[in-house]
């Protein structure tokens, strides 16, 4: 779990740097996609709910986005955690298939 956590944090850091410095030159309809948000959502959708991989991703992603944003530290952590917990709740309540988890 520790290895997964470190791996996810590094992946999110790289995603953020690529998003803010490289993909900033390639806007889609004027908007640069928030790679960190997309990655956290992806992890939340495809992770095994028995492990807190998605929570770790939300925390790491939130800290990274909050560090680089100008507003109150904690906004992105809250947003990503709420999204991940919402997805967990939705999957537990409405999705029966659990065989497509990629992240342990």
């Amino acid at each position: 779990m520790l290895k997964t956590g470190i791996g996810i944090t590094i992946l999110l850091c790289v995603a953020f740097l690529v998003q803010s410095s490289f993909f900033a030159h390639f806007p889609i309809y004027g908007v640069t996609p928030n790679l960190v948000l997309l990655l956290v959502l992806g992890i939340a959708l495809f992770s095994d709910e028995r492990y807190p991989t998605d929570i770790i991703a939300a925390l790491a992603g939130g800290v990274i986005l909050d560090t680089f944003s100008s507003s109150f530290f904690g906004i992105w952590i809250g947003v990503l955690l709420a999204l991940v917990l919402g997805i967990r709740f939705f999957i537990r309540k409405y999705v029966r298939l659990s065989s497509f988890s990629i992240f342990s």
Binding site: S20, F22, A24, H25, F26, L59, F73, I77
Partner: protein, 264 residues
């Protein structure tokens, strides 16, 4: 006692406390954390920004050749127009110099500029990062402009080797400006997501689409007469108490590369 309740009792309090400490600690040491993060990420960000710019430039030529040739034609036309304007301005400058000499004054001093490099855009798009900081003489409140003397923004925070620049579209941006030629003053206020408006314009002032907005000499900390944008449309606010003008900013943060800091 259900399994879920035991889990919450065992880990929930710990996770909650950890989150609380993270939020309190994060806000207490926010500046320090950001300073360290900027320093660590600076080389990679600078490299990614430069490679992104070259890939974008290369791919634009391949993906949109017709748009590129149209732009080249437009620029050629614009260049000839500018050359003719430059010639007439040179005549005016000569007359102005002669006039100043005759009344015993020198020419007004120009800005002292320092080159800075853009290295990234903060999510939201209304703040950018430059690769120079306190160690290179950057301080909060300094203005950043393009080589074409277009106002880009104000330094919000200066770290040892990086700084954040507040663009006019950022919600925290509010500075005195004026409409050039008409000399009508107002406050340019950012609205987020690349949008900005000019507030507190007199209700009886005749503001038209295309009017040019520049920084103001009076009551502002910004260097005077820097081009900010043009009026897109006007709107009457609060039953004739003042007017608001929605503005188009002159630049897009993505097109910025070579920037200058106004040192004096």
């Amino acid at each position: 006692m259900s399994t879920r309740f035991i889990f919450l009792k065992k880990y929930g309090i710990g996770v909650g406390l950890a989150l609380l400490f993270l939020l309190i600690g994060g806000n207490m040491f926010f500046a320090k954390v950001r300073e360290v993060t900027f320093r660590a990420s600076l080389p990679l960000q600078s490299l990614l920004w430069k490679s992104g710019a070259s890939v974008a430039q290369f791919s634009e030529g391949i993906l949109y050749p017709s748009a590129l040739s149209k732009e080249a034609q437009y620029l050629r036309d614009e260049q000839s127009l500018l050359i003719s304007e430059l010639l007439s301005l040179q005549d005016i400058k000569r007359e102005y110099e002669l006039l100043l000499q005759s009344i015993g004054n020198g020419l007004p001093e120009d800005f002292r500029l320092q080159r800075v490099d853009m290295i990234g855009i903060v999510p939201g798009g209304d703040m950018i990062l430059i690769g120079q900081g306190r160690e290179e003489g950057v301080h909060a409140g300094m203005s950043v402009i393009t080589s074409g003397r277009v106002f880009v923004g104000v330094v919000k925070e200066a770290f040892p080797h990086a700084s954040t620049i507040l663009l006019p579209s950022h919600k925290d941006f509010a500075y005195d400006t004026r409409i050039a030629e008409k000399n009508v003053m107002g406050v340019v206020q950012g609205a987020g997501q690349g949008r900005a408006s000019m507030e507190f314009l007199p209700p009886d002032a005749l503001i038209e689409t295309g009017d040019i907005i520049v920084t103001n000499r009076i009551g502002s900390v910004l260097p005077p007469n820097l081009f900010i944008g043009v009026v897109r449309e006007t709107q009457q606010v609060d039953v004739e108490s003042f007017q608001r003008a929605h503005i188009d900013l002159t630049f897009s943060p993505r097109s910025l590369e070579l920037l200058f800091l106004v040192v004096e």
